[in-house]
């Protein structure tokens, strides 16, 4: 494993709370979202981020306004960590006019362009060239924005990965590629997909600074990203970060995930990123259980409100649809 940046002595309570809030909000969103799916309120694909919350949480906490993210088919977590409006997210899943994409996109396509979220993507691997493109646009405009693409172990075996990371490298773009190595592509293991399951090594062959981090440790992810982002802003990008993690369930809501070995699942559940964020917050900031409970119920309430809002929202009408698509 390559060198990791040193942990600053004391993370601020603000930071710790932010990390916990984000991780917990993702956890609630996915857990409750799955229920809505099972009730038949959500159609199409729903790929839960459960178990991987540490990554989006840590990465996005290290970014600032004006930066860009590009996401995957498993994109709810990135969206929430980026600060999305949960109302608009739920509304989108419920195909309502008040959703981020007015019901045209759904789970795999939530985006928020004006805010620098280039969107989830239904094509595995597509976020990498798109993210490199955003970083290129920033460089051309002379902005100091950094772009992060969240990618996957599966995507790293696709040609787009090396091809576009190489472009980022020769152009020294402010681009961070975060590989969420959850060790599965649906039921196919990373070991079946490559001889070298340490994916960060691929960056080294094309001269890209590359690191590995425990994706279930939000604080470690945050710190490594902060370092990477600083280097990128100083013109020393791109940087590759491989975050090892594991799903808490099957590939999508309807996949029982029977192929996931029980012991491995137990190992990772014992290293639950939301618990870690909560423990970090309590242990390092001295916040008490009641305050934690207050945060949690506030977040649960936010989600409930979002469901309420979405249920009360209407869908796009055929007339609106025709007007919108008239010039295609």
């Amino acid at each position: 494993m390559s060198a990791q940046p040193k942990r600053p002595n004391v993370p601020s309570r603000e930071l710790l709370e932010k990390l916990f809030r984000t991780a917990y909000k993702i956890r609630v969103f996915e857990t409750e979202g799955i229920k809505l799916y099972r009730q038949g309120l959500i159609r199409g694909y729903f790929h839960p981020y459960l178990g991987q919350e540490g990554i989006a949480t840590g990465v996005c906490a290290a970014l600032q306004e004006g930066d860009y993210i590009a996401s995957t088919h498993r994109g709810h977590g990135h969206c929430i960590a980026w600060g999305a409006d949960v109302k608009k997210m739920v509304a989108e899943l419920l195909q309502k006019e008040t959703g981020y994409c007015r019901g045209y996109g759904g789970s795999m396509h939530i985006a928020d362009i004006s805010n620098g979220n280039l969107g989830a993507n239904g094509i595995v691997g597509a976020g990498t060239p798109l993210g490199v493109g955003a970083a290129l646009a920033a460089q051309i405009k002379g902005s100091d924005a950094v772009t992060v693409t969240f990618s996957t172990d599966g995507a790293s075996n696709n040609g787009t990965f090396m091809e576009s990371l190489n472009l980022a490298a020769i152009w020294n773009l402010a681009f961070v590629l975060v590989i969420e190595n959850n060790q599965y592509a649906v039921s196919t293991t990373i070991e079946e997909s490559t001889r070298e399951p340490d994916l960060y090594k691929r960056g080294l062959g094309i001269g890209v600074e590359s690191h590995q981090v425990d994706g279930n440790d939000p604080l470690a992810v945050y710190e490594m990203t902060q370092d990477a982002v600083a280097k990128c802003r100083a013109g020393k990008g791109p940087i590759l970060i491989e975050a090892k993690t594991f799903r808490h369930m099957g590939h999508h809501v309807n996949d029982p995930g029977k192929y996931m070995p029980a012991d491995k699942l137990a190992y990772y559940k014992a290293r639950d990123p939301v618990d870690r964020a909560r423990n970090n917050l309590t242990e390092m900031s001295g916040i008490d259980a009641a305050q934690i409970e207050a945060i949690e119920s506030e977040i649960r309430k936010e989600f409930e409100d979002a469901v309420e809002f979405s249920r009360n929202s209407r869908e796009i009408t055929i007339a609106e649809f025709e007007a919108f698509t008239a010039d295609y």
Binding site: R43, G44, Y45, Q95, C101, G103, Y104, G105, G106, M108, H109, N121, G122, I123, V124, G125, G154, A155, N157, N158, G159, A185, V186, S187, T188, E192, S193, T194, Y259, E315, I316, I318, F321, T325, Y328
Partner: protein, 329 residues
């Protein structure tokens, strides 16, 4: 069921010819997302039934290479949308190889994949892209609508020597239908009259066949006798069967799920108007997908592709039934 028919074809051909093999994402142990390849790993082993990483360009490319080197690969691509990643290998290699080598190089390659709308999987998982392959000389394009055709055509695909785009439909896997016992093979280029009729020819394929048949059945109640013609393979296209039907009915409605602009329906229409101009009693009607990416919202998705009432309306138009008569429906 359609998916069982496909499995039978693969199974029988793998048993017959040891150079037939299949690769794809999750097709081995897991049996594929649509369960078409279930049980094949156990029967034929991991050499001939392999999972791949998410590497569509690579899978298609190695399939084409293996075919050139004399094996008979089946490459399963989960969604036809993802075949776009391998277009270079299809368009510039597989399709070109035979001509470029003056005939010596053959590419007995089969890409199995599925397309079409279905249940809110949105713009990147709902396309019907047969027109892209149709336009590339050297590729065969097969679109079975019923289990028997699925089996017979896939078996034929695995015995001929040109690259085949074998395009299934996500809505059809669980549909039922009789499949003839024993060796059942269907040659390419033979259309099938799925319903004989004399008033109008409805040309449709893949998942538009059930809809066309439903429309025909309803039209029959109105006294309209529609013939439903399924080309089954778009390349080669059974022009003769189409022209024979048109000569009988003098009216044509073509139904495709793919978007209207530049679709295969347009090409078939252009052929009919060229070769049967003086037999047409009305403009050829095309009922097709809207010229837009498919929306996630289910109502909008439905509005984006042909439905039974739209097919019926087009038939009535082609029979010059007054809008009033139509409105009365």
């Amino acid at each position: 069921m359609y998916r069982d028919a496909l499995r039978e074809a693969i199974d029988e051909e793998m048993a017959r010819d040891k150079t037939v093999f299949i690769i794809g994402e999750g097709i081995a142990e897991r049996g594929g997302s649509y369960k078409v390849t279930e049980g094949l790993l156990a029967k034929y082993g991991p050499k001939r039934v392999r999972d791949t990483p998410i590497a569509e360009a690579g899978m298609i490319g190695v399939g084409v290479g293996a075919a050139i080197a004399g094996a008979r690969p089946i490459v399963e691509i989960l969604y036809v949308d993802f075949a776009m990643l391998g277009m270079d290998m299809l368009v510039n290699q597989a399709a070109k190889f035979r001509l470029m080598t003056g005939g010596d190089g053959r590419v007995p390659f089969v890409m199995r994949t599925q397309g079409g709308t279905g249940g809110g999987v949105a713009a990147q998982h709902s396309q019907s892209l047969e027109a892209l392959f149709y336009h590339i000389p050297g590729l065969k394009v097969v679109m079975p609508s019923v289990p028997a055709d699925a089996k017979g055509l896939l078996k034929y695909a695995l015995r001929q020597s040109d690259p085949v785009m074998f395009l299934e439909h996500k809505h059809l896997y669980m549909t039922k239908g009789l499949v003839p016992e024993g060796e059942h093979i269907i040659e390419f280029g033979k259309a099938d009259i799925k319903r004989p009729g004399k008033d109008v020819t409805i040309i449709a394929w893949s998942n538009m066949i059930p809809r066309a048949l439903e429309a025909a059945a309803k039209l029959a109640e109105e006294g309209i006798d529609a013939e439903v013609l399924d080309p089954r393979t778009l390349v080669p296209l059974d022009k003769e069967a189409i022209l024979t039907s048109v000569a009988k009915t003098n009216r044509v409605v073509i139904v495709q799920e793919a978007v209207r602009r530049g679709g295969v329906a347009s090409d078939i229409a252009s052929i009919i108007q060229e070769e049967a101009f003086y037999q047409l009693d009305a403009p050829i009607e095309i009922v097709a997908g809207l010229n837009i990416p498919v929306p996630f919202n289910l109502e909008l998705e439905k509005a984006s592709v042909p439905q039974v009432p739209g097919i019926m309306a087009a038939v009535r138009r082609s029979l010059h039934l007054a809008p009033a008569a139509i409105a009365a429906q």
